[in-house]
């Protein structure tokens, strides 16, 4: 069983090579990708179930024991996120044929897609700081391939920004890994966690920790470093935006969560306090961005940012409740962001425009799309009983326990504003007289709506079925607070 834990990383890698052999035969590539994605999802769901019932499983690749080899650590948090990744990406595969034109699909869309999934799964599962960098590169290279599909002028400009930003932060990443290796002599997460307390100069460690935080913050789009995100995520095809919005920023925030609950916990007074205020600023500025525009794609993209703020807030508070909230919110946000990007893609096709001022009355022609969007908005804003509510409730509870009242108030206000930004789309886009130029291609809109419907129903389940899900999240939060279990399972076989 131990050896099978590599499968979530390797299977999509094989699939990406497999579909690259015949990029032009779309009638083969499409069904093959769909079937493979479904199979991979089932496999990873099974592995997740196995990990939840039997505890963390560590695979030492090449038979080299940690800390010498590279450990792949399948702990509950990683596996939960991997399975969520697979669910979102499977929905994306079913969405892609209707959303992309054939020329774009031929240009190795499915290859880059599987490569991206492999990189994301690897980043979630690796137990090694340098290896985390490698998987970051894998997913970034795949994302470079995806972001330029379409080749418009605006898109090229935005992709250039995206590539430059990520290259710079990758460079910073390697530098900070080098610093950490120089200070502690290891890059293995578990061994780092063990050694961090015995380092004499804690000040240097804190500094390196903050540098590393900035690297991840660029990928996660935390407050001062988010301005590259909205445009470059809004410009590509909706399916690509959905993958980016649902997966890429989440890898960044996951890395912050992992590194700052496992390794850099020696001086939470500085690091985690900074996170808390950055989280607040991230929420505020993200929401302001979402309210500032009439482009529906941009509204959704800006809404990625406050979600990151919420998750970061849980990490900053650093209590068991707040971390449970972060994990819940992270999982919920992956699903719902995927769904929202799909729905917005469908809306843009249905209305024939992405300008909110020119849309109206879409719900009269496409009722399913309209109501799905309404539910998804409620889920995103955290209206009970949906999944956003559970996550936010836990986060706010954590905030109140730590007596950070100002943070709690701002968080509540910004979720209200998130709801407002979403309802603007609903009221102005879906209500009212039926506009001119609404599409007659009902089949295409239907094909675009179905994958979104699946994701929306999953996230409704995450809210209503919270009683079944929450105990597992609590286990994860326990493990995040108590580092010994992770360390022991990696180092002492």
């Amino acid at each position: 069983m131990t050896n099978l834990m590599i499968l979530p990383i390797v299977l999509p890698l094989i699939a990406s090579a497999l579909v690259a052999f015949f990029p032009n035969k779309l009638n083969i590539v499409r069904p093959v990708s769909m079937i493979l994605s479904v199979i991979f999802t089932i496999i990873s769901a099974y592995l997740t179930w196995y990990v939840f019932s039997n505890g963390t499983i560590v695979m030492q690749s090449g038979g080299w024991d940690a800390p010498f080899g590279i450990s792949i650590v399948a702990d509950p948090l990683s596996m939960l996120l991997v399975t969520t990744t697979y669910i979102v990406s499977t929905a994306a595969v079913f969405y892609a044929p209707s959303s992309l034109d054939e020329q774009q699909e031929r240009f190795y869309f499915y290859t880059f897609f599987f490569l991206l999934v492999s990189g994301v799964a690897g980043a979630f599962m690796t137990g090694d700081l340098f290896n985390l960098f490698v998987f970051f590169e894998v997913l970034l290279i795949a994302s470079y391939g995806l972001i330029i599909l379409g080749n418009g002028k605006v898109q090229l400009r935005e992709s250039l920004k995206y590539v430059l930003f990520n290259l710079f932060s990758s460079m910073l990443f390697v530098i900070s890994v080098a610093f950490i290796y120089a200070i502690t002599g290891t890059v293995n997460f578990a061994q780092l966690a063990e050694r961090i307390e015995s380092v004499d100069q804690q000040g240097i460690l804190t500094t390196v920790g903050i540098v590393l935080f900035f690297v991840f913050a660029v990928k996660a789009a935390v407050f001062p470093l988010y301005y590259w995100l909205p445009n470059s995520y809004a410009v590509p095809n909706p399916v690509v935006s959905a993958l980016f919005g649902a997966l890429l920023t989440k890898v960044g925030i996951y890395s912050i969560m992992r590194v700052f609950t496992l390794i850099f916990v020696h001086d939470t007074g500085i690091t985690h306090q900074i996170f808390l205020w950055l989280a607040v600023l991230t929420m505020v500025f993200g929401v302001i961005g979402a309210l500032s525009t009439n482009n529906v794609k941009l509204i959704i993209t800006y809404n990625i940012i406050p979600a990151i703020g919420f998750i970061l807030m849980g990490i900053g508070l650093y209590t068991e409740t707040s971390l449970a909230g972060s994990v819940y919110y992270l999982m919920h946000d992956m699903v719902i962001k995927g769904a929202l990007f799909f729905l917005i893609g469908a809306l843009v096709v249905a209305a024939g425009t992405s300008d909110l001022r020119k849309m109206s009355g879409v719900i009269q022609k496409f009722p399913l799309l309209g109501w799905l969007f309404f539910i998804a908005s409620l889920v995103l804003a955290g209206i009970p009983p949906f999944s956003g509510f559970i996550g936010k409730l836990l986060l706010l509870q954590g905030g109140l326990q730590q007596e950070e009242f100002l943070v709690v108030i701002i968080a509540l206000l910004s979720s209200l504003l998130i709801l407002f930004s979403m309802m603007r789309i609903f009221i102005r886009g879906f209500w009212g007289e039926v506009q001119e130029g609404i599409t007659t291609n009902r089949k295409k809109v239907r094909n675009l709506t179905i994958p979104a419907a699946i994701l929306v129903s999953i996230s409704v389940f995450l809210g209503i079925g919270a009683e079944a899900v929450y105990p597992h999240i609590e286990t994860i939060a326990n493990m995040l607070m108590d580092r010994t279990e992770y360390i022991d399972s990696v180092l002492k076989e």
Binding site: T2, N3, L4, I6, V10, L13, I14, S16, A17, L18, A20, F21, M59, Q60, S61, G62, G63, I72, Q103, Q104, R106, F107, L149, G150, N151
Partner: protein
């Protein structure tokens, strides 16, 4: 390549050097798993030999002699490398585990064969494929490769 160029020295030397490069790259490839060398550097050297031939004899001629689809080549390499890692799982050992043994091969005598070589072969193919794809994409201009470029513009 319509113009008649005066490159007798280059052509003569290439005939010799290309073979030396290819031979040495294969040596590096086989030495790789327990001495300096390996699939990566071997692949780069092979690619440089092929590129030298391209420079000397022109794209059309070499494509006639070596009709290889480099994109397929590097995908195949990626596949082989990944599968060699997965193969370890089939034998119940961790991903990417390696093993080796000594076999009596006629003419070579007792030879060490390592499974690392399969992984290296994947790397080798991937490196040659990627290098050649990149360089040929940059080197071929619009007039020579209309079809490919039109595709890119549309995509």
């Amino acid at each position: 390549m319509k113009k008649n160029t005066n490159d007798l020295i280059l052509k003569t030397l290439t005939q010799l050097i290309a073979f030396l490069l290819l031979g040495f790259s294969i040596y590096l490839f086989f030495a790789g798993h327990n001495a300096p060398g390996g699939g990566f550097i071997g692949g780069l050297m092979t690619a440089s030999a092929i590129i030298l031939m391209y420079i000397t004899y022109g794209i059309e001629k070499i494509q006639q002699i070596l009709p290889i689809n480099y994109i397929t080549m590097f995908i195949a390499g990626l596949m082989i490398a990944t599968l060699s890692g997965v193969g370890a799982i089939m034998f119940g050992v961790p991903f990417l585990s390696q093993t080796f043994g000594y076999f009596d091969i006629p003419f070579f005598g007792e030879t060490e064969l390592a499974t690392a070589l399969i992984f290296d072969l994947g790397v080798y193919l991937a490196v040659v494929g990627v290098t050649m794809t990149i360089i040929l994409t940059i080197a071929t201009d619009a007039t020579e490769d209309n079809e490919m470029n039109e595709e890119k513009v549309e995509a």
